[in-house]
Amino acid sequence: MSEKVLMKGNEAIAEAALMAGCRHYFGYPITPQTELTAYMAKRLPKMDGVFLQAESEIAAINMVIGVSAAGKRVMTSSSSPGISLKSEGLSYLAGCDLPAFVVNVQRGGPGLGGIQPSQSDYFQATRGAHGDYRTIVLAPDSVQEMVSLTVKGFDLADKYRMTSMLLADGTLGQMMEPVSLDVGEITKYDKPWAATGTKMERPKNIINSLSLIPEELESWNLTRYERYKIVEENEVMYEEYMMDDAEICIVSFGITARVSKNAINEARAKGIKVGMIRPITLWPFPKKVLCEAADKVKAFISVEMSMGQLIEDVELATRCKKPVLLCNRCGGVIPSPQNVMDSILEADKIGGEQ
């Protein structure tokens, strides 16, 4: 499988999930992620897997809970409004400490919004639904990275008994790029906690998120957060681009990071020293590298397709040591390299006044 193939982002996620050993998919079609569902519908029945188009997103996420409880790799996918419907189930997965892989190919919002690309579910993905819990959030910026992060997402989910979410957007889902499907060795995890039948040989495994005793529920939360701490220590991923001598640091993920790279190359040609830190994990967020960068650069620019969501994490991570500008479009509009360039020129001025 070393030869490259040409795939849509949505298809590439599906194929990578199959290669990661996922044989159970539950979903409900929604633009712009429908090709993922369609691909699974074509492929899974031929692989002895289960493809089920549920009656709703809520049904689909609850089917994910069931299969995960039985110890199998399982996933669901949707786009923004559909993820809102799944959010109760996402909290239940966390409360039950079940691994799952969830894909959000974002579209513009709020409400029904539109079908063009967006990153405005950043808060929803990184903050989540009700209750104290965390989700590992992976943000690819190419079809190739959609493959590698899907495989990684299944691995992290099993390793930490958490939900990992691939946060893409409509453009990444729809665009076609050549990809290698060489995903390397897939690690298999023992799941002694799974409800697979005791065969009268062991005590029952009970998968549950309800506790009748407040102190017991508190202790579950504390134990869970011990595990989250390990994730924060070990699983942060980011890419640095031209940061060695940078005086301005762009922070951006996904498709806007690619637009930003074009703008950075243009700005560099004009002699402006600008670079980028691209978070690949949105949670755990690359706080340390950003905090260190704040001692070197004169300003940050958060480039995002939302009304200022990523920027809050940038300000927190950098402890507001340096100004953070917002370069954004929303509602289904992608910022142009010129939009980013305008912000770079503005950041360059602000730095000069200080």
Binding site: E11, P32, A38, Q174, P178, N262
Partner: protein, 222 residues
């Protein structure tokens, strides 16, 4: 070149139908007075023939496209003027059919008249580098599904094998075996092989029926 009155591009999802239809319309306009391009894709939300509407109209090509194409509205609707394809025989029509059987379904309403007039080419667009149509079994399945959905049999093949921006001359040359196999298996002649225009010069003497493509612009650079 003698053109049939109606030229249809159909095939697997993402095989390159829209780009080819747009380029074929521009080529045909050099030889024919009245050319229309009909976007009958009811499947794809982005990257539609409408992206090239300005270029088409500048060239004097009539574009028939859903009012909702490339908009924020997710309606698989077709415009009423698609009936002009079969009703007004003074035009040469190129139809960009949606991908797979789901996309081809919408064509069904025009098929009785297309068959009756019997002046059409139904072209199967193939790309060896698409994972679900890499082998003959995969492409045969797609062919059977599309023909069952729209009830119009294919008449020839367009070999559009490519790996996007990474396509090499070798990729195109090696795709000819695949195209020939599909041709033999489906009993369809190869009408042409399409390449991005930078590959046209180095390959034009080595591959029969080579047709250069200018790729549709993306809405923004990334």
């Amino acid at each position: 070149m003698e053109y049939k009155r109606i030229t249809l591009f159909a095939g697997h999802y993402g095989s390159g139908k829209t780009n080819i239809a747009v380029n074929w319309a521009l080529e045909m306009k050099k030889h024919e007075e009245r050319v229309m391009l009909a976007d009958m894709d009811i499947v794809n939300p982005y990257y539609r023939a409408k992206d090239s509407a300005d270029d088409m109209e500048k060239a004097g090509i009539r574009v028939i496209s859903s009012f909702f194409a490339n908009s924020n509205v997710d309606l698989p609707a077709l415009p009423q003027d698609i009936y002009a394809i079969v009703d007004d025989k003074s035009w040469h029509a190129i139809i960009d059919v949606g991908g797979d059987d789901r996309g081809a379904l919408a064509l069904g309403r025009l098929v009785p008249q297309i068959v009756e007039e019997n002046d059409y080419e139904m072209l199967l667009v193939i790309n060896r580098f698409r994972p679900l149509t890499r082998d003959i079994e995969g492409i045969s399945e797609v062919v059977a599904e599309i023909e069952a959905a729209c009830r119009l049999p294919f008449t020839a093949i367009v070999n559009n094998s490519n790996l996007g921006a990474e396509t090499t001359e070798e990729d195109i040359i090696s795709s000819m075996n695949y195209a020939n196999e599909v041709s033999a298996r489906c009993g369809l002649p190869i009408k042409m092989t399409t390449v991005e225009k930078s590959l046209y010069e180095p390959l034009k003497d080595r591959i029969p029926g080579l047709f250069p493509l200018s790729l549709q612009k993306r809405p923004t650079e990334f």
